[in-house]
Amino acid sequence: MIGRLLHRAFRANETAVHELNYLFWECTTRCNLHCRHCGSDCFAASRDVDMPLEDFLRAFDTIPAAERAHPFTVILTGGEPLLRPDIADIGKALRGRGVGWSIVSNGWFYDEAMHRKLMAAGLGALTISLDGLEEAHDWMRGRAGSYARAERAIALAAAEPRLAFDVVTCVNKRNFQELDALHDRLEALGVKQWRIFTIIPIGRAAEDPEMHLSDAEFTALMEFIVRKRREGGKMKVTFSCEGYLGRYENQVRDVPYFCHAGVNIASVLIDGHICACPNIDRDAFSQGNIYEDSLYEVWEKRFQPFRDRSWTRRGRCAGCKVWRDCLGNGMHNWHGDCAEVLNCHYGKILNKTV
């Protein structure tokens, strides 16, 4: 209990200080794959044009150098960021400002030449998405050959000591049965960090029963992570930040649950909107636009819905006895009119999904 109280105090203090450490830039919405679960409206020829680098830098430069927190990472996301021909110029411009940068990628274009180019431009961290062994991954990604390309990227990145690197897997009904085999494959490839998350039930994913784990499967997933962490192999397995996990808190992650959206995390979206994590409902929660507002001023003066979560005491969360620890779950679990939380991880573990 004391640990929980201390963590609540820590979280309240961090929220009041709200140091910006983690800035997403949705630099393109173009993508070369057709993922079943993709929450964003990506297609090969997206209707959105890529945001010019100068526009992003103009927004970024509103953050006073003295105020820039350490560590500070700019995360290039998409779409598929490696479709941008100026990706190395972006990295060099950020390193020129003394800022670390990173990419979330499906790995398709990440060959040795790309690896060399990005490392020379100062790439500091990389996440490659892998959603199962070959059949399950290619099914999820909608393109044959995706697994082979992702595996090539993983092998290159895992052998690079300058990169903070991890693999992320979205667990669904298809890949759920092969998690042990996938674990062994990733470990054999030299991966040190494997992060697991589950789908947000919105858009295409909401209608697709194969994407969702039952309550029993979700609990089995927790047990899988606990087991792997106890076995203590060369690769650390972690569950993502996505929700409060009751008795599994401290067993499947290194630190207790804390949704940092809007507390330490901001994003510049493809059309200039300023929000927190890009998987949050942008229509409901964007706080401004870099084409009209100063990014830093918006960060300092707005973002109240992220920093005061009392509004989440509604629907099933209204009378919840663990609300003070959960605060209505991760912000990405609130969409549309926000009348009800989309996902209650704690409820899944208690086998009480409604």
Partner: protein, 68 residues
């Protein structure tokens, strides 16, 4: 006061993990600039830096620092 608590906790090595986080669709945080520059470079990176230097790509100040 709150900033003092934040800085104090951040300075304690035991609590460092509390400040390291990662969003679901995000990457790990990058190492601080000093650690990144001090990290050992692989052959791949060395070669890439040489190639880039020869082709005049390394004009940006920050990247020149990485090469040093």
């Amino acid at each position: 006061m709150r900033k003092w608590i934040h800085r104090g906790l951040k300075g304690l090595s035991l609590t460092t993990a509390l400040f390291v986080f990662q969003a679901c669709y995000g990457t790990p945080m990058t190492a601080p600039e000093e650690d990144y520059l001090a990290a050992p470079e692989t052959e791949v990176v060395d070669e890439a830096l040489q190639d880039a230097a020869q082709s005049g790509e390394l004009l940006q100040e920050g990247v020149e620092e990485i090469a040093e």
